[in-house]
């Protein structure tokens, strides 16, 4: 059997799991309603009269802060609670196949949510003449951001058999990833710290990288940043799961 086949099987099972319960549906509705609210009521999409989606993507780091841990919190915690982890890891799969399969399935759910925001793209194209390259960049950035949060959640989910604990830990870690580059926080440092330190701390933040992709520049460094966050967190997931099994 190829190496990819078990990943696909696991991912398909996970996806079916998300859509078998109302969970995925509830998340989709909540995300669409809330992101609509923020875009139109707080960012004042219409009043601004600008043909871009800045006011839409602006909120994603904050919306994902709640949404993504909620989607991913059960990823491993539930396997541990039900005891199915024992079943899964005694089948002929390697841990990384299971980790990647589960991660991709949850990421795909988030992708579906994001795809369903397409009416706003139609709207802005109908009303004005936006740079669609920038919009695509925005979506790519948003997807990478969601993936990073999700990898963090996968890691916290492997730590515990309680979904709530996993959720809270993920929110705290993701919040740190946001705040490290948020101007009100970086301003605290600029007053006394050397600028290289401020930059280093800020470079750990998803915000700096997310915003730079939002500008329509798909810099390899930004992509590399998100890829490393995902890679590192999934690696940690593997280490945690192994440590848990070793007892």
């Amino acid at each position: 059997m190829s190496r990819i086949a078990p990943i696909k099987t696991i991912a398909r099972r996970e996806l079916a799991g998300y859509f078998a319960s109302p969970v995925a549906l509830v998340f989709i509705v909540i995300f669409l309603v809330v992101s609509g609210f923020f875009t139109f009521m707080i960012s004042r999409f219409f009043e601004r009269g600008e043909a871009n989606l800045d006011g839409f993507f602006l909120w994603h780091p904050w919306l994902y802060l709640i949404l993504v841990p909620a989607v991913g919190m059960g990823m491993w915690a539930e396997e541990r609670r039900l005891g199915t982890l024992e079943l899964l890891f005694t089948m002929p799969v390697t841990p990384w196949q299971a980790i990647v399969g589960k991660f991709l399935a949850a990421w795909a759910v988030l992708g579906v949510v994001l795809v369903l925001t397409f009416p706003i793209v139609l709207t802005v194209n109908y009303l004005g003449n936006p740079d669609n390259g920038v919009i695509v960049g925005g979506y790519v950035g948003s997807m990478l951001l969601a993936g990073s949060y999700l990898a963090v959640t996968a890691m916290t989910s492997a730590m515990t058999r309680s979904q709530i604990v996993s959720f809270l830990l993920a929110v705290v870690i993701c919040l740190f990833l946001i705040l490290a580059g948020w101007p009100p926080v970086t301003d605290l440092f600029t007053q006394w710290a050397p600028s290289w330190l401020v930059d280093t701390i800020a470079s750990f933040s998803v915000m700096t990288h997310f915003e730079s992709i939002q500008k329509g520049v798909l810099d390899s460094r930004d992509v590399l940043y998100f890829a490393s966050v995902i890679g590192f967190c999934l690696f940690c997931t593997g280490v945690i799961l192994r440590a848990h099994r070793a007892g």
Binding site: M1, A5, P6, T9, I10, R13, A16, G17, A20, S21, L82, G83, T84, E86, L87, F89, T90, M91, P92, V93, T94, R245, A246, G247
Partner: protein, 323 residues
């Protein structure tokens, strides 16, 4: 097919399994017995590669479970303790998932699911979601998962736990039947299963093997095994009369009075004497003395007695020699 060598596992300072060695060949059903917390599940988890052993090795079909896990894992089916399954799936969805994980697809997958459903009597619930099932059905669903790819090796952790007597019987019959061609290990603390199903049994206590043999050999370790039990309907006025007279027969080591009324005695033969011959001479004596025998039989020994004596016996005595 299964070679377990000097397997040890410690959780921190606590030694859960302290050096377990055994082999299981094809066509053999090995019963894995022991009190709760003896290390049965831990041993099975190490055999299946779920937890790494602290020391020792496990080979399945020649493949080391730690060094070469994938080929080893392909060879066995495993029913973990408490029979976990994904609650958000239907029975057929779950079994299809298990089949795909075992590399089956298309028609082969359909056939495998169909066969497992039939063997485990799941037809009635096939489209039901697992979380709506009763415990017995959930258990059999997980059992079906373990045999879906018709593995050469089966490792079953308490396969009859939580089933009703009919279901227990079905599962035992199934295990026995499959045991003819496969190598099977199953753990239990129900002793009657050992007689019903196993070709060999291992008793484990506090992480060590304390007995290993066929069910008959294990029963033979009961001190009552080979003794003759005689129950009288009438004849000897008092139990001690019977005891005295029988005790005077050749080859009798000891006569225990089991009950005074009716009079029941257990006669232990001397070393080297046959219980059956003893029963004959007791019969002859009864005829001569005009005692009416209601029952005269050779005792086989009881597994639960053996189990109790080897798992409790050391607890009182040789605590020092096991560390």
């Amino acid at each position: 097919m299964i070679e377990v060598k000097d397997l040890k596992k410690s959780f921190g300072p606590k030694l859960a399994v302290g050096g377990v060695t055994f082999n299981v060949a094809q066509g053999e059903v090995l019963g894995f017995l022991g009190p709760n917390g003896a290390g049965k599940s831990t041993t099975m988890r190490m055999i299946t590669g779920f937890i790494p052993p602290t020391e020792g090795s496990v080979k399945i079909g020649g493949f080391d479970i730690v060094e070469n896990p994938l080929p080893a894992k392909r060879l066995f089916g495993y029913l973990p303790e408490n029979a976990p399954s994904y609650h958000d799936m239907t029975v057929s969805g779950f079994l299809e998932f298990a089949a795909e994980m075992r590399g089956l697809s298309g028609d082969a997958k359909k056939r495998a699911v169909g066969a497992a459903v039939e063997k485990c009597f799941l037809q009635r619930v096939i489209h039901q979601s697992v979380d709506t099932l009763s415990k017995g059905f959930r258990h059999r669903t997980c059992f079906a998962q373990s045999i879906i790819h018709d593995p050469q090796v089966l490792i079953l952790d308490e396969p009859t736990d939580g089933l009703d007597p009919n279901q227990k019987h079905e599962i035992r019959t199934l295990i026995k039947e499959m045991g003819r061609t496969k190598a099977i290990i199953f753990s239990t603390h129900i002793l009657e299963e050992v007689d019903a199903v196993c070709s060999r049994a291992i008793v484990i206590d506090r992480g060590l093997i304390v007995a290993n043999g066929t069910p008959a050999e294990l029963r033979g370790r009961d001190e009552k095994a080979g003794a003759v039990l005689a129950r009288f309907a009438g004849g000897p006025g008092e139990a001690r009369d019977a005891r005295g007279k029988i005790g005077a027969l050749g080859g009798v080591a000891k006569v225990d009075v089991v009950s005074e009324s009716p009079i029941v005695v257990r006669v232990h033969p001397k070393e080297g004497w046959n219980g059956a011959d003893l029963a004959n001479s007791i019969g002859e004596m009864a005829a001569k003395e005009r005692w009416t025998l209601a029952e005269l039989r050779l005792e086989e020994g009881r597994l639960d007695e053996v189990f109790r004596s080897i798992t409790l016996g050391d607890r009182a005595g040789g605590k020092e020699d096991r560390k």
